[in-house]
C-alpha cells in the first residue's frame, strides 16, 4: 500500500520524466476572482489558486504550475495507508491564504500564556527572542536583527542565495522554474499536490559551485519573514562540489491556529555536493486529552547526483498526527543518503515516520538510524523503504530501528520494506524494542538522580546516536526539548 501510494512518482526520477515535469504548458488566462481582502474565503477551487498566485504577484508560469497541481489534486484521494487515525480535514472549510500578520498580537509579555513563557525560559530562550516568538511587539533593536544583516552580507559575498521562495520566484525565476517540482513532482502524493497548488511561502537556497556555506543556514534568521503559513515550500539547491548545512524549525513550541500543515521540501545535491538538513519540530501536539493539535503531513525528498551526499536529521516532538518520510533518491553513482531520526510521542500523539532510500546508481550507500520514543497513550510507527534498482551494483544499506516504550498504554510499530532487484546489494536491518524499567529509575534515584532527570538521562542515552548528528547548539536545545516533551510521562 505504502509503495503504491507513494512511489508512483519514482518514474518521475528518470531524465525523461523530469523533463516532462518541467515542460511549461500554455494555459489560457481564464478569469480570476479579484479579491482585495487579506484573507481569502474558505474553500478551494481554480479561482482561489489563481487568487493566491495573483496576491503574490507571481509570473504566469508559476500560476500555471499551481493550476496543473490543482487539477491533479482534484483527481487524487487522501492516503489511508499510514498507521494513524484522525478525522480527515474538510478541504473546503479551510482558508488557503492569509496575509502575514504584521501587527503584533500582544503588547507585552504579561499577556502571553504563562505556560508558554515557562517553556521558553526552560529552553534558555532570551527575553527578546521570547517576545519575538510569542508575537509580542518589540521596541528595542534586537541582536538577531543585526545578526541577520551581517549574516546576509557574508552569504552575498559567496554568491549564496538564501531568501523566501516568494522572493526567489521574483528575483531568480530561472532557478526556481528549473528545479521546482523536480524531486517532488506536483502529483507525487495527495498532500504534495495540495501544497503545489496553494503553497503560501517557504525558503529558497542556492549554493554556487565549489562554495562551502560558512554558516548553518537557519530559517530562524528569517523569522521576520515568518508566518509562512500552513503550506510551506522549501527548495535547496547545492551546485557541484558545494556544501550546506540547513536548520529547519525551532525548539520553541509553536502554537498555530492552523490545524493542517502540508509542507514540501526538495533538496538537490549535484555532483560531489553535500547537503545536511536538520529539523527540530515542536508543533502543538494537542492537550493531554488529545484535543487540538497540528496535523503534519510532510513530503521531504532529496536527489543525489554522482558522489553527492544528503543527510536528513530530525527530532520530532510535536504535532498531533505526523506523517513524514524524508527520503533520498540516490541517482548518481557513489552517492550517499543518511537518515537520522528521533520521534517522540506522548499523550495521544500519533506519528508515522521514517524514510525511503532509493538506490538507482552504482555503489550507492544509505544509512538509517531511527529512534522512536512513545509515552502516554501515543502510537509511534517507523515506516521505511530501502529500494535497490537493477542498475545499482554494490548498493549498501544499514538500517537500525530502536523503540523505547514508557508505560503500558503506548505503542511502537516498525514497518520496514525492502525491495531489491540487484543481487550485489547488501542490506542490513536491526530492530530493538525496550522499555524504561522501574529498576532503571530506582537505580538512578539511588544515586541521587530524581525520576524526571532519570528519564531524561535514559532517553538522551537512547537518542545519542542521532543527537550527535545535530549541529552543536541545536543538539543542546533538542536534548532539553526531549526532557520537556516527556515530563510527567512516568508516574
Amino acid at each position: 500500500m505504502f509503495l503504491r501510494n507513494n512511489f508512483n512518482s519514482k518514474m518521475a526520477y528518470t531524465e525523461e520524466e523530469l523533463k516532462k515535469e518541467l515542460e511549461t504548458k500554455e494555459y489560457e488566462y481564464g478569469f480570476y476572482t479579484d479579491i482585495e481582502s487579506d484573507t481569502l474565503p474558505v474553500g478551494l477551487n481554480e479561482d482561489i489558486v489563481r487568487a493566491i498566485s495573483k496576491k503574490k504577484n507571481e509570473p504566469q508560469w508559476m500560476t500555471d504550475w499551481r493550476l496543473e497541481a490543482f487539477s491533479q489534486w482534484k483527481q487524487m484521494e487522501e492516503p489511508e495507508w499510514a498507521n494513524v487515525t484522525y478525522k480527515k480535514p474538510d478541504f473546503q472549510a479551510i482558508s488557503y491564504y492569509s496575509a502575514p500578520v504584521s501587527k503584533p498580537k500582544y503588547q507585552s509579555l504579561d499577556e502571553v500564556d504563562p505556560e508558554l513563557l515557562d517553556t521558553f525560559k526552560r529552553l534558555g530562550i532570551s527575553l527578546d527572542e521570547q517576545k519575538k516568538l510569542a508575537g509580542v511587539a518589540v521596541d528595542v533593536v534586537m541582536d538577531s536583527v543585526s545578526v541577520a544583516t551581517s549574516f546576509k552580507k557574508t552569504l552575498g559575498e559567496k554568491g549564496i542565495i538564501f531568501c523566501s521562495i516568494s522572493e526567489a520566484i521574483q528575483k531568480h525565476p530561472e532557478l526556481v522554474r528549473k528545479y521546482l517540482g523536480t524531486v517532488v513532482p506536483q502529483k507525487d502524493n495527495f498532500y504534495a499536490a495540495l501544497n503545489s497548488a496553494v503553497f503560501s511561502d517557504g525558503s529558497f537556497c542556492y549554493i554556487p559551485k565549489g562554495v562551502r556555506c560558512p554558516m548553518e543556514l537557519s530559517t530562524y534568521f528569517r523569522i521576520n519573514q515568518a508566518g509562512t503559513g500552513q503550506f510551506e515550500r522549501t527548495l535547496v539547491i547545492a551546485d557541484e562540489s558545494s556544501y550546506v548545512s540547513y536548520l529547519e524549525g525551532c525548539t520553541a513550541p509553536t502554537r498555530d491556529e492552523n490545524q493542517l500543515h502540508a509542507a514540501v521540501v526538495e533538496l538537490i545535491a549535484m555532483d560531489d555536493a553535500e547537503i545536511k538538513y536538520s529539523t527540530v519540530q515542536n508543533w502543538f501536539p494537542g492537550d493531554k486529552e488529545g484535543k487540538g493539535g497540528v496535523f503534519n503531513f510532510v513530503t521531504k525528498r532529496g536527489l543525489c547526483e554522482n558522489r553527492a551526499k544528503i543527510s536528513w536529521t530530525q527530532v520530532e516532538t510535536g504535532s498531533a498526527v505526523t506523517w513524514k518520510y524524508p527520503s533520498c533518491v540516490l541517482k548518481g553513482d557513489n552517492s550517499v543518503g543518511e537518515f537520522y531520526s528521533i520521534a517522540v510521542t506522548n499523550n495521544y500523539q500519533q506519528a508515522d515516520t521514517g524514510t525511503k532510500m532509493i538506490h538507482l546508481g552504482k555503489n550507492t550507500k544509505s544509512t538509517i538510524i531511527s529512534k522512536g520514543i512513545s509515552a502516554g497513550r501515543s502510537q509511534n510507527s517507523y515506516r521505511g523503504l530501502v529500494q535497490v534498482h537493477g542498475r545499482a551494483e554494490n548498493a549498501r544499506n544499514f538500517s537500525q530501528c530502536d523503540s523505547l516504550l514508557m508505560g503500558n498504554q503506548c505503542g511502537a510499530h516498525t514497518f520496514p520494506y525492502i525491495e531489491t532487484k540487484n543481487k550485489t546489494a547488501q542490506i542490513e536491518h536491526e530492530a530493538t524494542t525496550s522499555k524504561i524499567g522501574e529498576d532503571q529509575i530506582f537505580y538512578c534515584n539511588q544515586r541521587g538522580i530524581d525520576t524526571e532527570k532519570a528519564i531524561a538521562l535514559i532517553v538522551n542515552g537512547f537518542s545519542k546516536e542521532v543527537l550527535n548528528k545535530l549541529p552543536m547548539e541545536f543538539a543542546v536545545e533538542a536534548q532539553k526539548l526531549l526532557e520537556i516533551s516527556l515530563e510527567g510521562s512516568v508516574g
Partner: protein
C-alpha cells in the same frame, strides 16, 4: 551495637546533650516490618550502625537480605507496614530514594542495571551534580571532576576506556561490581550497603573490590555488607555479624560468627531459633 549503659554513662550522655549522641548514630532500625504484595518479608528488624563500623548481614536465600537493603534505600516496590528507619538521627521513612541518597546513603546493587548510551562518566557526573544541587551547591567544576575520576579509577584499577562505555552494558559480572564501588568512591557516602557484592566475582576482582572498600573506610562512615558466604568477609573484616532468618535478625556476634556459619551452615541456627 547496643551494649548496656551503666548509670554513669547515661549521666555523661545527658551532660553532653543527647543530640550530640544522636549525631553519632548512623543508622537505627527499629521493629521494621515490610511486605511485597501483602507477603510479609521483614518481620521486625532491629539494627544499629555507628560511624566507623562494618556490619555483615548473612543469611540463607530468601531470608530477606536484599529486601532489607531495598527498603533502607527507599524502593517503593516494598511496603513498610511497621517500624522506622533513622539515618543520622532523622526518620527517613517518608523520604524518596534520591533524598536518602543526597543524605549520604549508598546501595551497591546485587544486579546493577544497564543504561544504554549513557557513559559511566556521564552517569556519575549527573549523580554527583544532582546531589550537589540538592544541597544548594553549584555543579562540580570540570577539572575537579576529572581529577576525582582519575584518582578513584586508579584506586579501583579501572581502565580509562571503561569510563566511556555505556553504563553496565555488556559489562562482565566483575566489571559491574567494580563500577558500583567506583561510584561509591566518587559519591563518598556516609553509609554504604553492599548487597551481594561478592556474587559473580572471581578472586582477583574480589580482592580489588574489597581493597577499594577498605581504602574508603574511615571513622566517619560505615559499611553494611550483605552476603551469603563469608568469602568477602576475609577481605572486608566486619566488626559485627548478624544472621537474618525469615525476616528477623536471630543472632548477632563478632566476626567469628561468620566462620562458624561457613563451617556449620545455617541449620543449627534454625534449630536454635525453633528451640
Amino acid at each position: 551495637m547496643v551494649v548496656g549503659f551503666s548509670k554513669d554513662t547515661i549521666e555523661v550522655r545527658e551532660l553532653n546533650e543527647i543530640t550530640a549522641y544522636n549525631k553519632k548514630q548512623m543508622l537505627k532500625i527499629e521493629n521494621l516490618h515490610a511486605s511485597v504484595e501483602d507477603k510479609a518479608i521483614l518481620r521486625g528488624i532491629n539494627l544499629e550502625v555507628k560511624p566507623g563500623e562494618v556490619h555483615a548481614i548473612m543469611g540463607p536465600n530468601g531470608s530477606g537480605k536484599s529486601t532489607l537493603s531495598s527498603v533502607i534505600a527507599g524502593n517503593e516496590d516494598f511496603e513498610v507496614t511497621n517500624g522506622n528507619i533513622e539515618f543520622l538521627g532523622e526518620d527517613i521513612g517518608e523520604l524518596a530514594p534520591e533524598e536518602r541518597a543526597h543524605k549520604g546513603l549508598f546501595l551497591s546493587f546485587q544486579y546493577p542495571v544497564e543504561i544504554p548510551g549513557v557513559s559511566v562518566t556521564n552517569f556519575i557526573k549527573t549523580a554527583i551534580n544532582e546531589t550537589r544541587r540538592a544541597k544548594g551547591l553549584e555543579d562540580m567544576p570540570a577539572n575537579e571532576m576529572l581529577k576525582l575520576i582519575r584518582e578513584k579509577s586508579e584506586l579501583l584499577e579501572i581502565d580509562r576506556k571503561f569510563l566511556s562505555r555505556s553504563l553496565n552494558e555488556g559489562f562482565s559480572g566483575g566489571e559491574k561490581k567494580r563500577n558500583e564501588i567506583f561510584q561509591m568512591a566518587m559519591l563518598a557516602p556516609k553509609l554504604a550497603i553492599l548487597d551481594e557484592t561478592d556474587s559473580g566475582l572471581d578472586i582477583d576482582a574480589l580482592r580489588i573490590v574489597a581493597n577499594g572498600v577498605n581504602k574508603l573506610k574511615s571513622a566517619d562512615n560505615a559499611v553494611v555488607v550483605i552476603t551469603h558466604y563469608q568469602r568477602l568477609l576475609e577481605y572486608i573484616v566486619p566488626d559485627f555479624v548478624h544472621v537474618l532468618l525469615n525476616g528477623r535478625i536471630v543472632k548477632s556476634g563478632g566476626k567469628e560468627l561468620a566462620f562458624e556459619l561457613e563451617e556449620k551452615g545455617y541449620d543449627w541456627i534454625k534449630q536454635e531459633v525453633e528451640v
